[in-house]
Amino acid sequence: MVACRGANIMPIGLTRIVGQLLLQGPEEEVFWIFVSLMDTYLRPYFSTNNSQLEVDATLFSRALENNDSQLAKRMLMDMSIPPEIICTDWYV
């Protein structure tokens, strides 16, 4: 079931980022802005090991534990939903 949900998460992050930039300025400059964004922030998310996503997922579960320990316990422990499932959609 979790796998199903995962399959529905369609990663449209890069498309969205480029689209937003293109609404602001000319194409070629957008390309170089995008290159810079990728190099500075985004490439670790799209590399073949998912380390950056893991880091963010760990931080997310920690934040959840701090702010709503009940929900964190229910979600992460009882239902053993991996935090990556939730985070992928946000970060990527």
Binding site: V2, I12, G19, Q20, V30, S36, T40, E54, T88
Partner: protein, 242 residues
């Protein structure tokens, strides 16, 4: 485009204070992943709230349809900011079917204040971009502070270019060359994503979509990027437990 409030932090570089001088001492938490400490910075809630309304006003693309704007909703400031932009359509958009809930006088006063604030922000950005070098802009506290206050649409693209230092990376001719290499393995997925993502923006759609062109050019330049990270993660098994 929202960046996570979780900020990567290497324990070696002590930059605890880099979030901004004025920030109230946010509670700081660290998480250890693979020998590296990551700092968890909590957002300042009231601040975030103001910013959201600001966002709605600034960003036409995120703006809800007029019919959805309820009296008292933060999106109302849209009207004032539009006229501040000198947008020619502000009059027609402010059509009779959405009466402002405020009395005309109060509405005008608020609009005026908002126009002033908007212009001031514009000016501050313009002067900041001439005084802070692009290479330092990303780290500069002044820039961070202004970014959080919002970037007026009129200068937003210049700010993007400045803060990312995109100009310095530009190599003349390379973009055209990369475009001429045509399609990449992920092109089909990109097209599908474009169709889903930009229903409200016809110029971004279709086979000629500039989104497709830019992404293809990038993937031609950096072929080892996984465009479909979700699919990759799935096939990798890390997402499909349970």
């Amino acid at each position: 485009l929202s960046l996570p409030n979780l900020r990567r932090h290497k324990s070696k570089q002590d930059e605890t204070s880099s979030l901004g001088s004025g920030s109230q001492t946010a509670e700081v938490d660290t998480v250890q992943v693979k020998d590296t400490d990551f700092e968890l910075v909590r957002p300042n809630l009231p601040f975030i709230l103001t910013r959201n309304s600001e966002d709605a006003a600034r960003d036409g693309s995120l703006e809800p349809p007029l019919s959805l704007i309820q009296p008292g909703s933060p999106a109302l400031s849209t009207f004032s900011n539009r006229s501040a932009n000198g947008a020619s359509d502000s009059a027609s958009r402010n059509s009779p079917r959405t009466e402002p809930p405020l009395s005309p006088l109060k509405f005008l006063q608020e609009a005026e204040q908002s126009i002033d604030a908007h212009r001031q922000r514009e000016l501050r950005w313009v002067s900041l971009m001439s005084s802070v070098l692009p290479a330092q802009a990303r780290k500069a506290k002044k820039v961070k502070k202004l970014l959080l206050e919002g970037v007026p649409a009129s200068v937003r693209y210049l700010v993007w270019s400045h803060v990312t230092n995109g100009r310095e990376r530009t190599v003349a001719g390379v973009y055209a060359q990369l475009c001429s290499r045509g399609r990449v393995p992920a092109s089909d997925s990109i097209e599908a994503d474009i169709q889903r993502s930009f229903k409200d923006h016809p110029p971004l759609q279709g086979h000629e979509s500039p989104v497709l062109t830019v992404l293809q050019a990038y993937l031609n330049m950096v072929p080892d990027i996984q465009y479909n990270i979700g699919e990759y993660a799935l096939s990798n098994g890390s997402m499909s437990r349970g």
